[in-house]
Structure formats: C-alpha cells, structure tokens
C-alpha cells in the first residue's frame, strides 16, 4: 500500500501554523449535528473528548474501567517535558525536537515531532489553568527537573505522581462536559469492533461489561486512544486491563499497524518474585540520580549473594562491577533506558545476576555512596565540620527520605527489604510501546474517519521514547492536534445527517462479535486464559525481548502460531455473556495479543538492524552497541492485515526524510 503521510510543505518551523491556517472548519451551528466516538480515557482520550465536546460536537467516550479517571496514564510517575526554558538553560522548541528525534534513534517523523515540541508549552499553560498542582519553587514559580537523554531542565512534575495529576486535570475537563450534557460517558464498556460504511469509520460495537449487552454506536468519526500493548509480555508495568483490542480491531478493518517491534524496556523495575506474579512495579527513573548500579565481578560471588551466603555489603568495593559507570563514563548511571536495560541483561546473561528467583535476573541499585556524600554535605550545611560516621549516615538517610521517601516505602512494602540499609534489587521490565497504529500528519489511520492518538499510535517516539515525553504526546494529540484535524475531516460531513445503526454493516459487525463470544463460552476447554497469556509472555520475553536474533524470532513466529491453535482449541472461559465476566473480557483481549505478538516477531525479523529498543544480536558494533542501517532501514514499517493467518500480513514502507536534522550515530559515552 502506498502510504501518504500528508506532511505539509514549507519550512519545518512553519508547517503546523501554516497548515492549521488552511484547514477546513465546521461552523458552531453545525457541530451539534455531528457525533464523535472516543475510545479510551487516558491522557489522549480524555483530552480529546473534552476538547471536542467543548467545541460543540456530540461526544461519546468509552472506557473499560469503572471510571474514566482510572486509565493507566494515571500511573506515570516522573513528569512532562515542555520547551518553556523557565530555567534559562538554553532550551528551545528546536532542542526539544532534536532531543526527541535523537532519543528515538532517528526513526521518528520530523514534522510530527516538531509539532509536538511546538505545542508542548501550551500544554503546561492549559494544565495550570485547569488547576493541576505542579511542583513549585518558593518564589511561586513552576519547578523543573532533568530527565535522561537531555542536558536541560525541562521536565515539569507533581511529586512522583505527574501522570495522576495530568489525567485528573483532563478528567475534570471531561467531567465538566459530561455535566453539561455535551459528552456522554460509557464506563465499563469495551469496544469489540469497528463499523465501516462505504470505507469510512461510522461506529463501533461495544460490550457493556456489566450486562453483557452488545451495543451499536454510530458516529461521523472514531478516535482510538486505547494505549499501548506492553501486556503482550504478560508481565509488564502496564495495568492488568491494558490491552490492544481496540487498536487491533481497526487493524483488522484495514488500519495499518506500524513498527510493532519497538518496545521500551525500562531499566528500573522490581524483579520478578515467582510464578504467581501478575504485574511488575516501576521504580522511577529519578532514582538513578542517586543510586549506583552494580553486580559482583565474579559469578561465584553472585551465586553466594543469591543463596544468601554473602550480603551485598560483604562484597568489597574492588569486587564490584559498576558496569554502567565503566561502559558509559559520561552518562554513567543516567544512560538512556534502552542502553541501561541491555547492559543489565548482559551481566545477568553472564551469570552475575543477584536475585534469587527462577532466572537469577536482578542487579543492585545502591544508595550507600549517596548516603555518605549527602550526609556529609548536610552535616557541613548544619555547621558540623567534624561529623562522626554515624552522624553522616543518619543525615544521609534523612536526605534520601526527603527526596525519595514514597518510593523507598513502596519498595519496602513490596519486597520486605529496607533500601536505606541494603541496596535495592532491580531489573528491566516492559514499560511502553513506541509502535502502534500507523497515522498520517492528521493522526488519521488508513481508514478515513478513524483517528488514533497517544500511545496507541506510532508517530512521535521513533525506536525509543525519552522519559517524560509520553505525557506530552498524549495531551498534545488530544488537546491541540485532533481538534483541528478532525474538524478538517468533518467539514465534509455536515450534510451526512445522523448515521443509523440499522445499517447492514452494523448488523454484520454485531454478529461477528456475538459469534466470537459464543465460541469462547462454548469452547469448554481445559486451560485458563492466563495459562495461555503466560505462555505468550514467556515466548515474547525470551525471543522478542531485549536481545533478538533471527533464530529466536523465527522460532517465536512458529511457537505463537501453535499457541494460537492451542488457545482456540483448549481455552476454558467460564460463566456466561449476560453478566460481569472478567474471564471472558480477558479471553477476548488475549486473542488479540496473540495475533499482535506474532506480528511483532515478524517486524523484528524484517528489521535487519539495531535501533533504540529494537536490538538484534547480529547487528552490534565491537563494543556491543546498536548498529543502525540508515541506508536500508530508515523507514516506518507498516503492516496490513490479510486474514486470520498473521504470517500473511504485508509490509509497506514509509521512507523517513530528514530535512532539518543530520542523522548521526547515537553516542552517550
């Protein structure tokens, strides 16, 4: 398929402004005649639904949670980037744009990223106006901090709960529209199919999760803002309910799925404790400002740590390998996420992991050096120039508590270990997916009238996302991009009139959904949905995880194919449709994750290079760093659905053209 990204002409800096000036508009008196469906109520979905309703469109918003406020954007900890340059450290729209392109390992679209950087400032203004309580300095001005991969302070935050505060801001805006009757909320509803009429998106089929009723909803445009697909790995930092179903359903209806192999594996999560584990917990990237990451130099010492014969403190300084400081002296423990994660895997693969779990996977994040440094500083600041070692330690721990107290408490609750006394144990975990539904500059998929926003689309982060950029993108899409581009599309719909749900296309889609549900419920197999989901997760983690190679990927494609067959034959979904049935919900989601997993392996296999979060063992330099192939792989890989057999999907390529930025090797040494 020929992909038209619809990037406007003109100089990069003027593209968005000029383009907006020439987009078609829908007059206020016509907007109430137009319905828009928004699926998902995270940052992108809530902000889009609120903004479109404010404009006067009829908005129907859907979420599977019991309230729109619970979407997984709520869990983002660190912050949101914006090129405000409040700290006077030379930041600008261009620098934010440049850092994002470089951070993404030169696999993102220039025009989209520039627009993102451009609207970033408006996001902060908008959120403050909504009453989002960002952290402030004593003078009353907004505070900023630094994040990985940048040399300026442009991250705005609200303690370790920035995602929560931004989402509650968007939720409040949406709530206001619901209260005014301009938006209608369908909570505990799951979209199970897209309805197309004459090639255009005209509605969805949704299941009411309480009654099981299969409902038809029509609209003149559909926005998918359903988040990422990290749960394909079973264990991830995503919420338990996060899923790919809405995105996958539109893929099956003709929307191309781009770069599925680009997955972000976050370096600092609490390691797996056992086979009953359901979910992994992130420890904020900010901890890497104060912690030093290490493993023992020898396998023997690591083994002794795992069996409890040696405590971390028993290992002498000379016998520790601070591997990030050793390999990346200039960024040290603050190397970007993909690089830090791979380095942890490497030392564990060498048998030097320190966690006593099934895989021995874990490394230390040690605060003892920071306790001494900050303890001494605090003592001096208090006028004590001859502190005793005990005083230093006490003051150092106090400093840590002020800075990271909530994270340390969270760690202790989960692991029952006290990180003030013994190093934290951490290991990388799946966190964010850069790939997603292919969209053009308007955020429209290859289906007319079907738009995709936030993590669900592929557009802005290339092959690796920088910290504090996901929140920025979600709100940029919803508040400041979609309202313009959707109106441009809808300008041609003002004469369409109400779309009837009696159309045969609705009937067919509803029948498809009902059929799938009854197949699952009547299958009466012998294994639970989780059994299959865990199996899928293991294949993905071992063969489509941090290090990939041709052999493993080929095996993964075959194994997932077999798993799919086994799943449809042997899955046991208890209960009925006409009730709240979490197992049925899970079965419908896992079915789509299995398909997607296979496509991810195929995408990773075709991409014969290493870039960002996609690391192919065959493509690395002498020092084990990613080896990009800009001549052959500077493209977005977008897949087209070709029926139930996923291996038949066809790849289309959108060439990435860099007009403004000179492509270079990404160097953090």
């Amino acid at each position: 398929m020929k992909l038209d990204s619809k990037i406007p002409g003109g100089p990069l800096k003027n593209k968005w402004t000029d383009y907006k000036d020439h987009l078609k508009l829908v007059a206020p008196n016509n907007r109430p005649k137009i319905d828009i469906i928004v699926v998902g109520t995270g940052l992108a979905g809530s902000s889009a639904a609120a903004s479109l309703a404010e404009m006067g469109y009829n908005v129907k918003a859907f979420c599977f949670q019991d309230s729109p406020r619970r979407a997984h954007s709520i869990a983002a900890q660190g912050g949101i980037n914006a090129a405000k340059n409040y700290q006077n450290d030379g930041d600008s729209v261009y620098r934010l744009f440049y850092d994002t392109i470089k951070g993404g390992d030169y696999r993102a679209r220039e025009a989209n990223v520039y627009r993102l950087a451009e609207v970033s400032s408006n996001i902060i203004d908008q959120c403050v106006a909504q009453g989002v309580p960002f952290a402030r300095e004593y003078g009353g001005m907004l505070d900023n901090r630094s994040f990985g991969g940048t040399q300026v302070q442009r991250t705005f935050y609200a303690a370790g709960q920035t995602g929560q505060q931004l989402l509650l801001g968007a939720y409040s805006a949406l709530s206001r529209q619901i209260g005014l009757g301009r938006a209608q909320m369908f909570n505990r509803h799951e979209m199970l199919d897209l309805v197309k009429i004459d090639g255009k998106a005209r509605g969805i089929i949704a299941r009411n999760l309480i009654t099981g009723e299969i409902e038809r909803h029509s609209a003149h445009a559909v926005v998918i803002a359903s988040g990422g697909y990290g749960n394909v790995y079973f264990l991830s930092t995503n919420a338990m309910g996060s899923n790919v179903t809405a995105a996958w359903k539109i893929h099956k209806q003709g929307a191309l799925f781009a770069n599925p192999c680009y997955v972000q594996i976050h370096p600092t999560c609490i390691p797996v404790h056992g086979t009953n584990q359901a979910k992994l917990t992130l420890m904020s990237e900010s901890l890497r400002n104060s912690g030093r990451i290490w493993v023992p130099k020898t396998k023997e010492a690591a083994e002794a740590v795992r069996t409890g014969k040696l405590k971390p403190a028993d290992i002498a300084e000379a016998d520790r390998d601070y591997y990030l400081e050793r390999k990346y002296p200039s960024f040290g423990n603050l190397a970007p996420r993909d690089i830090s994660s791979r380095a942890a895997k490497e030392v564990c693969d060498e048998g030097r992991g320190i966690e006593s779990n099934d895989t021995n996977e874990g490394v230390f994040l040690d605060f003892s050096t920071e306790i001494q440094t900050k303890g001494k500083q605090s003592a001096y600041a208090k006028g004590n120039h001859n502190p005793t070692p005990e005083e230093i330690t006490t003051l150092g721990k106090q400093w840590l508590e002020e800075k990271y107290g909530n994270l340390f408490t969270m760690y202790q609750k989960i692991t029952d270990e006290n990180p003030y006394e013994t190093p934290m144990k951490i290991y990388p975990a799946v966190h964010y997916t850069m790939g997603g539904v292919w969209v053009d500059y308007n955020l429209q998929s290859t289906i007319p009238g079907c738009f995709v926003a936030g993590e669900a689309n592929f557009s802005d982060h290339g092959a690796n996302r920088l910290g504090a950029s996901a929140l920025m993108q979600g709100l940029a899409d919803g508040y400041f991009v979609l309202p313009y581009t959707i109106s441009n599309y809808l300008a041609d719909e003002i004469r369409t009139g109400k779309i009837t749900t009696d159309a045969p296309e609705f009937e067919e889609a509803e029948a498809r959904v009902k059929d799938t549900i009854s197949q699952f419920l009547n299958n009466k197999g012998t294994k639970s949905v989780d059994y299959f989901h865990k199996k899928l997760g293991l294949i993905m983690w071992n063969k489509v995880g941090m290090g990939r190679n041709e052999k493993g990927l080929t095996e993964a494609i075959a194994e997932i194919g077999q798993l799919k067959e086994d799943f449809y034959k042997n899955v046991n979904v208890p209960g009925s449709n006409e009730e709240l049935n979490p197992q049925l919900e899970k079965a419908l989601r896992v079915a789509d994750l299995i398909d997607l997993g296979q496509l991810m392996a195929m995408d990773a296999l075709q991409r014969n290079e290493s870039c960002g979060g996609h690391f192919r063992d065959e493509y690395q330099d002498a020092e084990g760093e990613t080896l990009r192939d800009d001549v052959n792989f500077s493209f977005v890989g977008a897949w087209e659905y070709k029926g139930n057999d996923i291996t038949k999907e066809e790849l289309s390529k959108e060439e990435l053209k860099y007009e403004e930025i000179k492509i270079a090797a990404r160097n953090y040494k």
Binding site: A50, M240, N276, L580
Partner: protein, 256 residues
C-alpha cells in the same frame, strides 16, 4: 528481611451473582500461597484454582496494581484495604498473614456504592459529584495565560497537591459508619480552593458538589476520623474542615 515461604489459608469471601441477587459468605481453602505474593495475586491463584475446578471465579476490581488507579476496593478482616496502613489492597502482601489464617473478604459496603457482583461495587456516584463541579471552567485553547504569570505560594501548591493525591477508591466511604463521602469531596474542593485558578468558581463549586453528594445518598460527617486512618493516600481531615468553611461562606453569599 524474611525469606518468602508458602502458607495455607482459609478464605471467607462475599459471593453475589448480581446487583439484585442475595449474597452470602462462601468458604475456600487455598494452599501454597507464597508470602511474597500480593493479596491480589493470591486471589488470582484462587481464581485459577476455581477455573480449573470448573467453578465460577471471584470478581473483584483491580487494574494498575501499584496503588494509584484506585480500582481495588476490598474490605479485608473488617478493614478497608486490609491490615496495613497507607496502602491500597493491591499493595497489601501475603507476608502480613500466617499459615492457617482465615481471611474475611467483603466488598465496600455503603448505600451509595451498590454491589454489582461479588466484590465489585458501583462507584459512579463519585464521578457524578465530580461532574457537578469538580473542575475549573476553562476551555482548551492554547491561548490561556503563561503558566508562570500567576505565582502560587509553594505551601499552597503543596497542600493542593496533597489534596489532589486522592485516588477516588472510596475507602473513606466504606470505613465510615455514616457512609460519608466528605473526605473525597473535601479533598477536591480543597485542591481548587487553594489555587488562584480555582477561586473564581469556588462558591458555585462547593454548593454544587455538596448538593450532588447529598443526592447520591452519602451520609454526613460526625468527625470520627476513620476515613483519614484508612485513606491509602493519607488525605487529611483538614480538607473536610476547609470544605465546611467554604460551604458556610458560600451558603451565606450565594444567590439562592
């Protein structure tokens, strides 16, 4: 540090087919539960066992499993979010229990939170309170004033944040003998009352939110303070006092 071990437990769980059915406590036995597991992973394990025995698994609300989405909502051994403080149910771990323990698990019990099924309740009353006034009436434009043009004292910003940290789980209501939602509403009212951006509509906001709260059937506050004790985010009772002040002054000045 205590090494993880496996324990065997008995569970008494509220089972209720749907909103209209009569529910009852059912007994289950669950063996080999790792003390390193979270409480909800223990329930996952029970459900896996029930599915394999071809019995109906237990329905419960949960999502992020890291204490921030506010979905999980279990009343465990007579306490909202169970026998630990400052945490949600999903952050509770099995090391808090002993081999041979019998654990009682119930849904939130409150008139305004009707049971949907088993341990799942309907908390949309909270959403409706929010819709009645929990916002600043500012449209998306990109042309609001610069974020730094109104300085906000750090102390006010910090207090607003502490109030805004509420996750809307409903533990305050569940634990209150009156089923009062005043900690939830007080936190939202306070967040906006403490910020200049929220002051403009302060009068209508508190009147509208309190009116909706009463219509939803939540009880009144008698200053027992149980809500503050069980709140996983440590939302302070001061927020209720601030809401009462706001409400009083609004009642005296608002156009009726």
């Amino acid at each position: 540090m205590s090494a993880a071990k496996n324990i065997n437990i008995n569970l008494k769980i509220w089972r209720q087919k749907n909103a209209n059915a009569k529910g009852s406590m059912e007994t289950y036995k669950l063996d080999n539960v790792s003390t390193a597991s979270s409480f909800l992973e223990m329930l996952d394990q029970l459900n896996e066992q029930l599915i394999n025995e071809r019995k109906e698994p237990v329905a419960f609300d949960h999502d992020c499993r890291e204490g921030i989405c506010g979905s999980c909502s279990l009343y465990i051994n007579g306490r909202a979010h169970g026998p630990d403080t400052g945490i949600t149910t999903c952050q509770l771990h099995m090391r808090m229990f002993n081999d041979g323990d019998t654990i009682f698990i119930e849904p939130w019990r409150s008139k305004a939170f009707p049971v949907i099924k088993d341990l799942v309740v309907d908390r949309t009353a909270f959403d409706r309170i929010q819709q009645a006034g929990g916002f600043v009436s500012v449209n998306t434009s990109g042309n609001t004033i610069d974020a730094n043009s109104i300085p906000v004292p750090k102390d006010d910003a910090d207090k607003a944040f502490e109030a805004a940290a509420c996750i809307g789980c409903g533990a305050c209501v569940a634990t209150c003998k009156n089923g009062s939602a005043m900690l939830f509403v007080g936190a939202k009212v306070s967040q906006y009352a403490l910020l200049p951006q929220g002051k403009v509509e302060a009068t209508q906001r508190v009147m509208n939110m309190v009116r909706q709260m009463d219509e939803e059937g939540f009880g009144n506050c008698t200053n027992t303070g149980a809500c503050e004790v069980e709140c996983p985010k440590g939302i302070s009772l001061e927020n209720i006092a601030r809401m009462n002040r706001e409400f009083l002054s609004a009642s005296l000045t608002a156009d009726k």
